[in-house]
């Protein structure tokens, strides 16, 4: 598609439950990024993919968070055993990579976000 799509829009989980978020990047984009926006607008980078390969995972809390980008499927971000502090808006962004041309190839296009509330 022409826009980054994220589902669901809202997700409510009890503490300890699993949460799974999905992201469909713009068609033809090679890179996918996940960011977490918490309370006072702080954005935190979580992980990025180049196609189905992890590109940078330096922001991921590895003990409970995992992510995948498989061919012909939406990318996913999964949180096992959610905690109250996981409540946030999770944004996905995609970037064209070199195919987008020298000027725009590194621009990131954001989806509308998934609001996760952990009770």
């Amino acid at each position: 598609g022409e826009e980054v799509a994220q589902t669901p829009k809202h997700l409510v989980r009890g503490e300890g439950q699993k949460a799974k978020l999905y992201c469909a990047p713009i068609k033809g984009h090679s890179y996918v990024f996940w960011y977490q926006q918490v309370l006072k607008n702080e954005f935190k980078f979580l992980i990025s993919f180049q196609n189905e390969n992890v590109f940078d995972e330096t922001g991921m809390p590895k003990e409970r968070f995992s992510a995948k980008c498989l061919p012909n499927s939406p990318c996913s971000l999964e949180i096992q055993a959610t905690k109250l502090e996981d409540s946030a808006v999770y944004f996905c962004a995609s970037s064209p990579g070199l195919a987008g041309g020298p000027v725009s190839y590194n621009e990131q296009f954001f989806g509308p976000g998934t609001r996760l509330t952990v009770l």
Binding site: Y35, N41, S95, E107, P112
Partner: protein, 115 residues
Amino acid sequence: AQSVTQLDSHVSVSEGTPVLLRCNYSSSYSPSLFWYVQHPNKGLQLLLKYTSAATLVKGINGFEAEFKKSETSFHLTKPSAHMSDAAEYFCVVKPYGGSQGNLIFGKGTKLSVKP
């Protein structure tokens, strides 16, 4: 370490008056710089970007920003505020401008526009 500092957490202007949202960055390499806007309960929209071409960058909705390397600044301006400009604005840096690295966000400036 790379970082972004938005100097004001909240800016309030009257409709029709100029807007100035300040941003300073720290980066060891030639960065790419962006301003994004986020309206309440909405996603992020790109206003403009600097990618080492012209230092004065024009964006959407009448916004522009000037890259000043000597001051490590990338302030956002608009000559005349409109009520619809009320939103949260984020200054963002990608330290390695030509790479696919992650973005580093400032903490945001909330712009209020009074009638």
